[in-house]
Symmetry: C2
Subunit: 542 residues, 2 copies
């Protein structure tokens, strides 16, 4: 590791100037045209940078449909890649969602793929993701570019090789064109760091974009990407997905190659492991991603991968859906309760669905253990990394409080393992005794909240702790009639009340997306995606 003597401010300024240089003059929008808007969702269409074809390419398809267009040569790869580079550039100017920008390389590769289409590939021999643009969270190594994760001490250290997933996606025909922003330490519900700054929520700048994969969240919401890849150790895919009204799938550990992802935790601590997964505008794109990866011999790319193949399962006949109204620790805010109720009501009316009310046992203690796992050695290692370039702790990292969790001992670690083994047994019993195919619950006790206020990830983190696959499914938005109600509705004590009071009014939370979370059993990711597709079709009538 190169020793850094530069101050983080100098590094940040240089890095941002580099970013600016990567955006062609003709793709720039005057700041005055959007800086006063709270919601910038329409600006990509109105700013005049995209022509009609580019608007169509970037607006009208999900990844599955775009791939069909690409393979059918309705659009050339170059057309598609240029369109997404432009729209990503716009998204970045609106929300500060990108970190590393490699549009030029991407367009170069697109041209090469177009040539190969004519010369090398013959019809169905096309690679499965031929020409598809895919964005990556900054922590994935892409050779030649930094994966600083927004930490000063890792700036200007370009990766020497691709992360396993990047290599795999390229081999599968995808085109990588940018990486996206995330919070300092990759461990908060905002996406803010001292090098790249904060990513904004394009639907409501006053609310967090979510984290840690927040850059992807904003980029995909603005359709500067239609398929991105994040990582999730406590909700880092699902939280920004719910904040941005997109689909975000946390795969079981090891199914999607995670080798070559920078983790800011102490090396060797990964017992509860971070996992990679897709973020997208449709559920079928999450399936497309997982299926394509699992069919392509992940083991050849990554010594940490778990070889669970895609089996082309049929979805279960009559789905048994366990519904958890809350986690027994935090009471969902009014819009979350209302949306879950509506979703469950639609499910209940369907003959192919059986609803089973369930309670999730012991979430409070299990979440404490989860936090202990991700902070096993305490916080010295974090502080040491920050100190190298003199950077301060960002506010959202103070809010989540993990830097003040004391480390543990080897025996403490064994004790955590014993409790985790017990919880794994208990939750399997919950699944089996109720013959549950899928659990439906909120992905958080609230929507996106005001900046730097996201304090807990228990609703999502539970499934990391147990290593169950889980997906955030958008089901609507905060509505005018979602009034705040009395604090006495917070049923689980003072900490609950503190979070519950974050919801003040539908005005403050205007345009905030609302999602549900669908959870499956460990390593039965395909079964979860099949079940979630059924739920999605009923709830969202897609």
């Amino acid at each position: 590791m190169a020793s850094k003597t530069k101050n983080y401010k100098i590094l940040a300024a240089a890095k941002r100037a580099q970013q600016q240089d990567k955006i062609p003059e003709t793709w720039r929008i005057p700041a005055e045209s959007f800086q006063d808007a709270t919601n910038v969702m329409d600006i990509p269409l109105t700013c005049g940078i995209l022509d009609q074809t580019e608007v169509k390419i970037t607006s009208d398809y999900d990844a599955t449909a775009l791939l069909e267009q690409l393979k059918a040569r309705v659009w050339s790869t170059e057309q598609v890649i240029v369109a997404f580079c432009k729209r990503a550039a716009i998204a970045h100017q609106l929300t500060n969602c990108l970190t590393e920008i490699f549009f030029e390389d991407a367009i170069e590769r697109a041209k090469k793929l177009d040539l190969e289409y004519e010369q090398k590939f013959r019809g169905d021999a096309l690679p499965p993701l031929f020409g598809l643009p895919i964005s990556l969270k900054d922590s994935f190594q892409v050779a030649g570019y930094d994966n600083s994760t927004g930490l000063g001490c890792y700036v200007d250290q370009p990766a020497k090789e691709h992360s396993a997933l990047a290599a795999m996606l390229i081999d599968l025909g995808a085109v990588l064109y940018c990486k996206t922003n995330l919070p300092q330490a990759i461990m908060t519900g905002d996406s803010d760091n001292n090098i790249f700054g904060r990513t904004l929520n394009p639907r409501n700048k006053m609310l967090t974009v979510g984290g840690s994969t927040g850059g992807e969240g904003a980029l995909i919401a603005l359709r500067g990407s239609i398929l991105g890849v994040g990582t999730d150790i406590a909700g880092s895919i699902r939280i920004p997905s719910l904040c941005n009204g997109i689909y975000g799938f946390r795969a079981s550990v090891g199914l999607v190659p995670h080798g070559g992802v920078r983790d800011v935790t102490t090396p060797g601590t990964d017992i509860v492991r971070s996992t990679a997964g897709p973020m997208a505008t449709s559920l079928r794109d999450c399936s497309l991603f997982l299926k394509t990866i699992l069919q392509a011999d992940t083991w050849k790319y990554d010594s940490t991968s778990v070889s669970v193949p895609w089996l082309d399962l049929e979805p279960a006949r009559k789905l048994r859906v366990g519904v958890a109204q809350n986690d027994g620790v935090y009471t969902p805010s009014p819009p979350i309760r209302r949306a879950l109720q509506q979703a469950v009501s639609l499910l209940r009316d369907n003959d192919d669905i059986q609803i089973i009310p369930i309670d999730l046992p012991d979430v409070k203690i299990l979440y404490q253990d989860h936090v202990s796992y991700v902070t096993l050695p305490g916080s010295d290692y974090y502080y040491e990394q920050f100190a190298r370039t003199g950077e301060p702790v960002v506010p959202s990292l103070e809010t989540v409080g993990i830097l003040s969790v004391p480390g543990t001992t080897l025996q403490g670690f064994f004790d955590l393992n014993v409790r985790r083994a017990g919880a794994a047994k208990q939750y399997l019993k919950l699944f089996r005794d109720n013959e549950i195919d899928v659990i439906v619950m909120p992905p958080a006790p609230h929507t996106a909240v005001p900046l730097d206020c996201w304090a807990t990830a228990a609703y999502t983190g539970l499934w990391n702790y147990l290593d169950y696959p889980a997906i955030s499914v958008p089901v609507g938005y905060v509505r005018d009639f979602d009034s705040a109600d009395d604090l006495s509705n917070a049923q689980f004590g003072p900490e609950d009340e503190q979070v519950y009071r974050l919801y003040t009014s539908p005005e403050q939370y205007k345009d905030a997306p609302v999602s549900i979370q669908a959870v499956g059993y460990r390593q039965r990711d395909e079964a979860l995606l099949k079940a979630a597709a059924v739920l999605d079709s009923i709830i969202n009538r897609v």
Copy 2:
């Protein structure tokens, strides 16, 4: 845990008297008839306890063939189970291979299965392992019986529920009828403990039966069982398999349910995890076992299982076989070198095989790390368990030396994980750069050795450390012409020389089986078994 005040000697005497009671008078053989024999392999056939049908049932089939006979009703389940109970009783009297004996329950269940065959099952609706006798290592919980693992402090504490695998095997139609012996602490190359005593090698009583699943080794060699299940964290399936001339398969961690297996290590330490797997008289029986288990939703039984399904893969076209002559630490003894050379020569002559000589990097340091993993907290926990009933350390546990390995710290544990991640990457590269389908190497630097002399498990333990599947395949015996050669042939230093000098003469090692080890890539267990079957067919002409 009940506190034990009884001395281990009292517990042992009571336990052995119980065992004696479980063997009917008419199944007993006079000790004089075998106690002077070094090799007792023929005694089951000559002792007069088995009738001609029982001899046929227990001698003529592997599990796959016997299952066909059972399903075709050539023999009733009762006939088969009685025959194996009798032969297991004989094997036990000859080698002391059993721990818990439940012949009566088994025969009862066999009668029930025979009735069900007539009344409930119709032809092809039979459970996949219908009526098949399966023996288990003592550490698997079977409800109603101890799983003391030969430790005084766990005697007279019958299991309240089945281990996941026992429950699964019963649901699959198998008949459990006995459990088998293992060493104190389940961690040595002999099978000797203070409660059940030592299991002898039926081919040569002067040599170890192997460990830790040594009871299975002797029982299967004598055909008191044709399919048993062991566990392996450093070689505990493969070592007794090679000592007894049978097939023993160490599956990747989690593929075969391991929940409800007693581990004598400190709870929560299982990072390098023990794994369950079959021991059998044919390679196809190992495949039968794994296939049946993997097709039966292991996740429903065990919260620790890894959901890798059986895919009915075709074996690779032209197999690329990496051959490692040694592990770079211990020089194989003359019969091992000779047998490997013969095997490789047969493979080389085959047009469907490509031989690639390989070296295994860094085995010495990786094996040290492996030992550190299994002794993370040091030895206090072992000593504490032994002290509860005043039992001494058995000699073979002194030999392996793990009780003197100091424990580590949390940081030491992280360092181990970092090195393991590096090794995993390095060995994947070895596989990929050479496009290896399967590695062939010795499973140990020697055959079964004299009692209490087994000191190292690096040849097998490496694959536990990396979690690669590996199978011991018998290829012959020590031959008259396998003379001991000069110690100077031990090429790796003083420790190597110490092990190398164990081989003194073909006379001392008379009838000792010789095996090779076939190793596949992590979680590609089915691919390994398919490849190993090709190798087996060429080397053993089966």
